[in-house]
């Protein structure tokens, strides 16, 4: 392991990228599989590249350096009654804004207004040539140039090192209420996901715990509206209203993946609600799971050393790994199931990183 570089400014980040033939930016290390790289890759830590650059609450936007801890941003926004609606993951554990963007993971709030990709507006990054570039914009609406900021979502640092990010934010809802609905199996979960997804209630979050046989539905609205909405949902499915402190703990545990095995493997899957039963059925006995965003995101946790399930499904007669997946923690492939790769992906890698300074997508 070579020395870790710790730039303090975007210009220093560019210097750091240029300083070694092989580099990778690392944030808080909350998703360690994503920043694992070959021994010759020099890690650039972004922990000192922190601070809010610009925050105008009236614009519904902020710009901050990439190494800024998410929890600081959450606190700063909260003081002005605003928030990041996609509920960034691992906030308490020390996730950074840049790492959150590069990992492409969003929390339960992505159900209503969309995920990380729907709130990123602009990025400043260092390309493989060591150039500090700014693409996208700082306003909530902008169509100039290719949307590189979105491209960086989920790109795990393989195409550039993020220096600064600009996000759209929303006013925080005045009140929330969380319902625990009974769902004895995954088919019952899918039924709730499907019906609730098109219902008039405009749920704020809709997650499920397969182990518990429960679906958690969160309403976010002015307080006077909550009683009627909650009552209507509970008249449709049996369940209970969570006390405020229990609800707060539940969602904080979801955001921190407190349900997962400590020191184990954690993998994210992109699903559709109708695929949830098959996803859950594929769990080995030792596994734990969580289903988020109305059945669009699945998480699988395994204790350290447990074998990864095959999740094989027959697509058009050919057995294949069932769903797009990425590993956050643990000793399994970064992209389980080897997703399809196209020639243009290699070409874009060369365009942004001609000297192959950052690891390859599949390294």
């Amino acid at each position: 392991m070579t020395a870790v570089l710790s730039p303090v400014t975007p210009a220093e980040l560019a210097d750091a990228v240029r300083s070694a033939p092989r580099v990778l930016a690392v944030g808080g290390g909350t998703k360690p599989r994503m920043s694992r790289a070959a021994a010759d890759v020099v890690k650039i830590s972004t922990v000192k590249l922190r601070g809010v650059v610009e925050y105008e609450p009236s614009e519904f936007t902020f710009t901050a350096l990439a190494g800024t801890p998410v929890r600081e941003i959450v606190a700063t926004l909260g003081e002005r009654g605003q928030y990041l609606p996609f509920d960034p993951l691992f906030s308490a554990a020390g996730a950074t804004l840049g790492g959150t963007l590069a990992s492409g993971v969003s929390g339960p709030g992505r159900f209503r207004f969309g995920g990380l990709r729907d709130f990123v507006l602009g990025v400043r990054f260092v390309d493989g040539g060591g150039r500090l570039l700014r693409l996208g914009g700082k306003v909530v609406k902008n169509a100039a140039g290719f949307d590189l900021p979105k491209f960086f979502v989920g790109s795990v640092g393989r195409f550039g090192a993020l220096a600064e990010v600009t996000f759209k934010v929303f006013p925080r809802p005045l009140a929330t209420r969380t319902l625990r609905l009974d769902a004895k199996n995954a088919t019952a979960m899918t039924e709730i996901f499907t019906a609730a997804g098109s219902a008039r209630w405009e749920l704020d979050a809709l997650d499920a715990s397969p182990g518990e046989g429960a679906v958690y539905a969160r309403l976010a609205a002015p307080a006077p509206a909550l009683d009627a909405l909650a009552k209507e949902i509970l008249s449709r499915w049996p369940g209970t209203v969570l006390a405020d402190n229990a609800a707060a703990k539940l969602w904080s545990d979801v955001v921190e993946a407190a349900w997962a095995h400590a020191g184990g493997t954690l993998v994210k899957f992109a699903l559709t609600p109708s695929q949830v039963p098959e996803f859950v059925a594929g769990f080995p006995a030792v596994a734990r799971g969580w289903v988020s965003a109305g059945g669009n995101v699945g998480y699988l946790s395994l204790p350290a050393g447990a074998a990864f399930p095959s999740f094989a499904t027959a697509t058009e007669g050919k057995p294949a790994f069932a769903w797009p997946a990425v590993t956050l923690r643990g000793d399994v492939a970064l992209w389980p199931g080897a997703p399809p790769r196209f020639e243009v992906m290699r070409a874009v890698k060369i365009a942004l990183d001609p000297q192959n300074r950052f690891p390859n997508l599949d390294d």
Binding site: R117, N142, G145, E202
Partner: protein, 486 residues
């Protein structure tokens, strides 16, 4: 224009590749494709090919790659930035006949469509399930999803719901290299770099989308639409600031200035509070209980905002009337002036008042009238610059004013385009927004998708040698009131 023998031979090979009657070459046939919604620009293509299947599109793009022929994909030709302006010596590929909704899945709330499907047709198909497609550019009754994807179209609801890009989950496309790719899928979640997000808004420079997976949203149960008249534009702007500061998140916040109001009154007999120099439209939406609570807050804010009058739409018909006046404002301006161009800059919302004052000053200096209609919620300005194309320097002066306005938007920390795209019209202003290195980076990405620069060349990036500026008034559909420039 005489075709060279080599182009004639090339067109014979193209004709042989496709079913009979698909390659249009006669001058009268080509004339309909010389311009798009940006009517000031005009170029005659070598030919127009009318395609009906994805395989035909793939074969045609590969033909263009092999023969090194530039191509421009076109839907309904409503681009306001000249995005589908033909290339001299190139072909236009029309996609209107690839208009099938391939799949509509109400359980997953997605629609998979071909590029020629009309924007509003997606919502029409989704409506029986209580769903809709959120992006609503003003041309939505005619513009196609393929065009929306290429230009990342917006509309009146972008602050809350985002742009087209936020509603595209996946796509299949043929790239200019001839490679057929599939990005994303039916899940709302993505894994790996967001290739779909990169493709949306490529302005036709990467290739042609063949199948697009769109997310559908539940239609709001209830709307609360308010129209407030003010004696000054500043008061309307202050009201917007107060609404935003209150923590409300309206679906739409729009402002029209005096000249735009005059036009809407003349065109669709819209009724506005008397003595209003500006009108603010705010729309709340959501479950009825939420709207009931939110409207109390909105009503309080507007009551204190110094409005001449506040009108609340009592039913769906009154709501539609408010939106009709708003959406017709652009074509309505055509009644006030023989010609106009519409701009699409973005400024930080808090600087809207300052931006409007400076636009007023600049238009007075230029001796041109300028009407303003804008998406106040997201700072997206649409100044309509009125001019007379019969005056020898009319268009040139109007373009000069438009350029000043765009530069002002960049200086204020905004953007040269909120939703129309850069296209031909604003390509010379791209360097105002991005450094030489940044433009180089964009060009490298383009080259990864299109090394031969065959897909929609001449758009987005500055080039030497501009296409012909021509003067031929309103788009025929605009004259008919079917579309508007927004």
């Amino acid at each position: 224009m005489m075709k060279s023998p080599s182009s004639a031979a090339m067109l014979r090979r193209l004709t042989a590749l496709l079913p009979a009657g698909r390659v249009l070459e006669a001058p009268a046939q080509l004339a309909a494709y010389e311009s798009d919604g940006l009517t000031a620009f005009k170029t005659t293509p070598l030919a127009v090919v009318v395609l009906e299947t994805q395989d035909e599109v793939i074969a045609t793009v590969r033909f263009c790659r092999d023969e090194k022929i530039p191509f421009v994909a076109r839907g309904s030709g409503t681009s306001l930035s000249g995005g589908s302006l033909p290339v001299a010596g190139g072909i236009v590929i029309t996609l209107n006949r690839l208009n099938k909704i391939l799949r509509l899945d109400p359980a997953q709330r997605i629609a998979v469509v071909e590029p020629g499907v009309i924007n509003l047709a997606v919502t029409a198909a989704a409506q029986p399930y209580g769903l809709h497609f959120a992006p609503d550019p003003s041309s939505q009754s005619i513009c196609t999803i393929g065009g929306n994807v290429a230009f990342n179209s917006g509309g009146a609801h972008c602050l809350k719901y985002g742009m087209t890009s936020n509603h595209v989950l996946g796509l299949k496309a043929v790239l200019a290299t001839g490679e057929v790719v599939e990005f994303g899928g039916a899940s709302r979640e993505q894994v790996g770099p967001d290739w779909t997000g990169l493709f949306v808004g490529n302005e036709g420079l990467f290739g042609i989308a063949l199948e697009i997976t769109l997310q559908l949203l539940p239609r709001a149960e209830m709307f609360h639409t308010v129209l407030a008249g003010y004696r000054t534009l500043e008061q309307a702007g202050d009201a917007v600031a107060a609404v935003i500061a209150s923590g409300l998140l309206p679906g739409a916040i729009e402002i029209m200035d005096a000249l735009a109001l005059e036009a809407a009154v003349a065109a669709v007999h819209a009724e506005y509070p008397p003595d209003s120099a500006a009108v603010l439209i705010v729309e709340l939406e959501g479950p009825r209980e939420v709207v009931a609570a939110d409207r109390v807050r909105l009503d309080e804010i507007l009551a204190k905002s110094g409005a001449v009058e506040v009108k609340v739409a009592r039913d769906g018909a009154e709501r539609m009337a408010i939106w009709k006046g708003r959406k017709s404002a652009f074509s309505a301006v055509g009644r006030l002036s023989p010609d106009f161009i519409v701009q699409d800059g973005v400024v930080p919302r808090r600087r809207l008042g300052e931006a409007l004052r400076r636009i007023g000053e600049m238009s007075r200096e230029a001796g041109l009238r300028c009407a303003n209609v804008f998406h106040a919620g997201d700072g997206n300005l649409h100044p309509l610059i009125l001019y007379n194309g019969r005056e020898p320097d009319g268009l040139v002066r109007a373009e000069a004013l438009a350029g000043k306005i765009l530069r002002m938007c960049v200086e204020m920390g905004g953007s040269i385009t909120g939703e129309h795209g850069v296209g031909v019209e604003k390509r010379d202003y791209l360097p105002d927004m991005f450094s030489a290195d940044e433009i180089d980076c964009l060009k490298r990405v383009r080259a990864a998708f299109d090394p031969g620069e065959l897909a929609n060349p001449g758009k987005m990036f500055p080039v030497t040698g501009a296409p012909a500026l021509a003067q031929h008034g309103m788009h025929p559909l605009e004259q008919a009131g079917v579309i508007s420039r927004e």
